[in-house]
Every structure is written in C-alpha cells, then in structure tokens.
Symmetry: C2
Subunit: 253 residues, 2 copies
Amino acid sequence: MAPEESWEVNGTSTTPSTAEKLLVHHKENHFTAGEVVRDVILGVSDGLTVPFALAAGLSGANAPSSLILTAGLAEVAAGAISMGLGGYLAAKSEADHYMRELKREQDEILTVPDIEAAEIGEILAQYGLEPHEYSPVVNALRNNPQAWLDFMMKFELGLEKPDPKRALQSALTIALSYVVGGLVPLLPYVFIPIAQKAMLTSIGVTLAALLFFGYVKGQFTGNYPLSSAVQTAFIGALASAAAYAMAKVVQST
Amino acid sequence: MAPEESWEVNGTSTTPSTAEKLLVHHKENHFTAGEVVRDVILGVSDGLTVPFALAAGLSGANAPSSLILTAGLAEVAAGAISMGLGGYLAAKSEADHYMRELKREQDEILTVPDIEAAEIGEILAQYGLEPHEYSPVVNALRNNPQAWLDFMMKFELGLEKPDPKRALQSALTIALSYVVGGLVPLLPYVFIPIAQKAMLTSIGVTLAALLFFGYVKGQFTGNYPLSSAVQTAFIGALASAAAYAMAKVVQST
C-alpha cells in the first residue's frame, strides 16, 4: 500500500511565497474504501486461479462433474479459511509485534535517552546531515517524548501503527472474495453434468474473469492494466495447464 | 556543495548535467539467509494446509486414494505456480512502481523544488518540530539532491528499493516450499490405498508438521512460538474440517 502523495505535479510550475501556501492537502495514511477494493481484487484473483486449475485438471483426469464440484468446493472452503484466518492471525501478530517494539522504544527513551538521542543523529546523518544541522531536531524531540517515540517507531524501525479493525475486515473481505472468485470456474460444473463440456464453459468464463480482474487490479496498483490483465490470465492458464498435466500423470501411474 | 543553477524557483529547466548527477544509487535490500528461511516457512505452511484439507475432505467423500492423489497433486501444482509466478510478477510490479515513483520524485525535485522542500517541512512538522528547528535539515537536503531524493522516497513515500533478483529467488523458494509442504499430507495416500486409513496417517503427520512449522515461524516473526504453533495447526484443522463438511454436503446433493 503506497502512502499518499500530497502533491500532484501536472507539469506546471508554481511560485509560492511561503511554505504554508504550498501545502495543499493533509496526507492521509488510510483510504479505507480503496483498501476494501484492493482486498476484493486480491481475494477474487486468487479464487479464480487455483479452483479453476483444480477443476480443469480433474476434468482432464475424466472425473465426473459431481466429483469436480466436490473437490473444487472443498478447496474453496479450505482456501478461504486458510487465507482469511491466516491473514487475520498474521495481522494480529504484526499488531502484537508493533506493541512490543513500541514498549521497548518507550523504555529506551526513558532509561537510556542519550543513546536514543544519538540514534536520531545516526538516522539523519545517513542523509548527509551534519550534527550542527540536525541537533535542533534532536533537541526538539528530546523535549517532546511522544513525538520522539513516534519518530523512532517510524524512522528507526519503519513501523506503522496497525489498525486492529482493519485486520478483521481485511481477512473477511479476502476470504469472501476468494469464495466468490472460486465459484466462477465451478458453477459451470453445477449446470453441465458432462465434465468435458463444463470445462469448456469454465475456461471461457474464467479467462474472461481473469482478464477483467487483472485489468482492474492493474488500475489499482498503478501498473499498466492491459499488462496486468494478460499476466493474471497467464498465471491462470499456466496453473491449470500444470494441474491438467499433473492429473494426467497421476492417473496414468 | 554549492547550490546548482537549476535549483532556482523561477522555472529554469534542468541542465543535463544535474539530471545525470542524480544517480539512482540506493541501498540495496540485501539477500540474507534469514529471508530465504522466511520464504521456506511461508511456502511450507501454506502447502501443508490446503492440500491437507482437500485430501481430508475428499476422504470424507469416500474418494479412493488414487483420486485424492490426483486432486491433491493437481492442487499442489496449481498452487505452487499461482504463488510462485503470482508472487514474482507482483514483486516485479512493485519494482516498476518504485521506479516510476522515483522518477516522479526526481522530476519534482528538479521542477518544483520549493514544493518538495515544503514537503520535508511537513513531514518533520508532524513530530512537533518548528520551522526554525527543521529548516537546517531542509536546507542541507536541498543542497544534496541525492540525499533529498532518498529522504523523500523513504519518509514521504515509505518505499524501499526492491531487489529484482530477490523477487525471483523468493518466488522460486516459496513455490518449491509449497510443493514440499503439500507432499507431506499427500504421501500417505501414495502408500496406503485405503483412503480412510491414509487419512489418519495424513492427519497425524500433517498436524505434527503444522505444529513444528508454526513454532519455527513464531521464532522467525518474533512472536511467541507456542502460540504460533497452535494457531498454525488450528488453521489447518479448521480448513480441513470445512473441506470435509463441504465435501459431505456436495456429495449428499
């Protein structure tokens, strides 16, 4: 997730008189609607790929539609839980890690302030700053422990305070999206009992969905949408080819 | 370093020498043994979970070992490609994104330096710093374009320069680890033709593996290893219970 730019350069130059006039926007750290959409895209993209490949592989092994559905939906259930619960627990762990690091920095600020103050200097010196240039910053931070703590968390440890509600939201969104994505390639097998025919339909709708979601994903990540669409579809195609080949191999032994 | 001519506000265009001097020379993210181990743990943990759950689910649906192997190995092949290739392409996209943001910051530094300088102030002001305290820093950075660029990339955008070789290495490591992880719950079905019996062995070895890898994962992420072990095993158990239930439901319709 990229932090926001507070300024867009549109090729025009400006001549502001004071620094304040240049600061147009307050930087936001979070844009929740965008994060939800991102999670949907992630979940659906994943859900489209492996269930599709598994179903295609089993079709190649001449399994009946009913069995393909059994395997496919079981995989979707397992995958959604693995992604959803796994993601949630990972986010909680990160939050715990953040709180432990926060406490440690707090302790260091209180017990060994001179060492911590020297660390501020070290950080700023990496940018070619001389002691006489950064010492006002060090002194100001020493007199403002909360700001000092925030500064160390961000600039020494590179940690952002996680939002626990986001963790749950994100996990649920990804898991549900995975289910929705997985249903796309599997639904043809519900309606078309002959697996080989269902597979053709499945390939058609899934390919279309992969291209569409790849395109949308590209727009959201700021990458070339067409390229993203092709890559997403290609991964699906390659994964299903591998599953198909593997199924054939196992069946022949 | 004396200020360059092109740093004046009135919109003079960059001189080629200044542009060339903005060497893109950033800290490389070093490849460490720790990162490889982390990728192995990630891949194996994932590989242990869904293939296990799928196999358990199909056993519950009374599928023979041969079919469970077909489905399981097909899923492992598809999953490894999805994770491996998907991860690699995502990392490449991030690298492209980084280069585009880098170029944009470079352009902003050259064309609207006053705005960029004000942004430094904005960043530091978040830590309670007054203009008279941070202006030496701003001036020092203005005289050191490379450091200024590094500072903006890190503190404004929060971006680290990605290492393209790491992307490939990481993807391959995760994909291979996924395969190894997936084989653990599936091997019993190779040697034990009666699926229900194979499932018991599969549950046993997979549970042990989940606990072990969860423990190791906990040590690497700095979380309580026992807690991590239990969580990892729990996800596996829940995912397989869901797969089992789903398979039963689908078989009964």
